[in-house]
Amino acid sequence: MGMALAMTLGMAACGSTGGSSAASTGSSAASTSTAAAAGDQKVTVIIKNTTAPFFISMKEGAEAAGKELGINVEVKAPTETDESAGNSQQTQLAEEAIANKTSCLVMCPVDKEGIMPAIEKVTEAGIPVVELNSRLADESKAETFVGLENVKQGYGAMEQLLKGLDGEGKILIIEGSTGAQTSIDRIEGAKQAIEDANANGGKFEILASQSANYNRAEALNVVQNLLQSYPDANAIFCCNDEMALGSVEAVNAAGKTGSILISGADANDDACAAIKEGTMYCTSYGNPYMQGYEGVQAAYDVLNGGAKTDFYEVDTVVVTSENVDTFKDQK
């Protein structure tokens, strides 16, 4: 009986969200109406997943660009969230794109090395490749890169955090999944921000740096444990909002809400709610919508005369309580 209940609820939820399944999308509806205008131009966008709000937003941006530019856009993603399985699924999707005679491939690789064999097949078939959000291991295969500078994103978030600390502070860094390029880059930017602040008379030090795998529950435990070792910490820099929200709970449990400033990245809804409540200090909007949009724009440019630049940079926006209600309008 429980199963039946679960299934009906599942079906109801599916129906109401318009059935967004992981591998293929409703953009086929868009493609039939724009097919006449676009002729044969077909762009395939392969992203990391369609379960995280970040990538759902990216997909929406890409599809919107397709509609506005009048080209057929298909957004695909692996259903596996595990890195190695995600890579083999992306490889498969890339090969399908070749078989479907796509005009251009926009790729956001889960594994920048592992995807290279597939990328080589794509370029050998004469299909241009655009990098989206994460760079490939061998960039000579790609026409251009669309995305953020994660280093800048980390710098911006840390800079804001330091401003809130008023001259001196002891900082805990919570890293993302070990080896993830986004995590490495954001921390590089963050450390740069600390160096710059210290060069201007600041007294900031990093007490510890631990990974919580971009995971909320893990971050809660890790931060709770770290606060035992470093009770004098007054700031926590997290490589994404999920971990920042886990840190919020750890700080609450320790009774230190308000005395420890927490920063994240991504600017998802929960984080914005936390910033409004004052439990989180700031985050950084990676603008996934614009990344998806610019990704398709870049593909369009490549197909119509060539990429305009080799770095379509999408700006990140630091979000604090001051602009938390308005930052999304700054497209």
Partner: protein, 330 residues
């Protein structure tokens, strides 16, 4: 040496492993590790999650099976019940969570007992179904923000200083202990794990017992899911984390053999504490979290080797005692 003496010595030796690990951590950073706050956080706030899941895993292992679906069922049941809790409909929320948990438990149980599929494979497929449904339903949206009364489940304290979540875990432990040691139904788990055919012949309804174990695991998964909602203040699919592996590790390190038919929830408690303290200690010592995996693996290996050695010693001693008895009878 009787079997029960062997079990007591085995349990005590696992406790010794726990104490040694704690001693090592304490020597390296006493000011952070050896505090009442740290202990209370680890034992009362962090351990319960691993422990509850490990209880379920242990029950399944004792009957000669395994239950890999618990973590995904936990996520699905927490997701489906989240909105009810958020709106203050606690009764509805609990009903939904329990229904989902026990529903999937029933599915696993039927696959294992009636359709006779190996427990690993049966629960593996149920795991896929549950997690897949959870992702479809969640659609990337986390449900955030629960009422304070609900959060009191993990943050509040009913009895002097002990968080409610620890109380819930203790009650579950007590119920399971009495069930498995003092009731015919519970002792049935052991005989099924030890010798399923003989058990069926002896009149115990093995099929229904096995099915009920998996349903009980579903219930435990639902409870853990609710506790996660309360502690994290969000419904979040990433809570799966390392729970499945940790709960298996807890059972193994605690001394419950995979062959089934042996072990008690006491073993599970010790095993779970060992794992949570290892993670806690490594965070405090600022060792990269990636090493925790390796250390837990090493402890499992050590526990298994130790268990095998203990078995050999027990056999040798029993043989000697039997020889003495035979000689004395002549």
């Amino acid at each position: 040496m009787s079997k029960s003496k062997k079990n007591v010595i085995d349990l005590l030796s696992r406790v010794l492993i726990l104490l040694i690990i704690m001693a090592v951590m304490a020597c390296l950073k006493p000011e952070a590790f050896l505090t009442a706050t740290n202990f209370s956080q680890v034992v009362f706030q962090q351990a319960p999650f691993t422990m509850l899941m490990a209880f379920g895993m242990s029950m399944a292992i004792i009957t000669g099976g395994i239950d890999i679906s618990m973590a995904s069922v936990m996520i699905l049941s927490s997701y489906l019940s989240a909105t009810s809790f958020q709106q203050g409909n606690y009764v509805l929320g609990v009903l939904i969570a329990v229904a989902v948990g026990m529903g999937f438990g029933l599915l696993s149980g039927l696959l294992v007992s009636k359709v006779n599929i190996a427990a690993f494979i049966a629960t593996y497929s149920v795991d896929f179904i549950a997690l897949g449904l959870a992702y479809v339903i969640c659609d990337g949206k986390y449900i955030y923000g629960f009422p304070d009364a609900f959060r009191g489940l993990t943050t509040g304290t009913l009895i002097g200083g002990i968080p409610n979540i620890a109380l819930v875990t203790f009650i579950v432990f007590a119920v399971l202990y009495v069930l498995t040691k003092k009731t015919r139904y519970g002792r049935g788990f052991y005989s099924i794990g030890f010798n399923p055919k003989a058990t069926k012949l002896s009149g115990i309804n093995a099929d229904w017992t096995i099915c009920s174990v998996y349903m009980m695991n579903g219930l435990l998964a639902a409870i853990t899911g609710i506790l996660f909602l309360s502690r994290l203040n969000a419904a979040d699919p990433s809570i799966k984390g390392t729970l499945t592996m940790d709960s298996i590790a807890a059972a193994l390190i605690g001394g419950i053999p995979f062959s089934g038919g042996e072990g008690s929830v006491l073993n599970t408690v010790v095993g779970a504490l060992i794992i949570v303290f290892i993670r806690n200690g490594m965070n405090i010592l600022n060792v990269p979290t990636t090493w925790s995996q390796t250390v837990v693996g090493l402890v499992i290996m050590f526990a298994l080797i130790y268990g095998a050695l203990m078995d050999k010693v027990y056999e040798a001693i029993s043989r000697k005692q039997n020889q003495k008895k035979a000689l004395a009878a002549e």
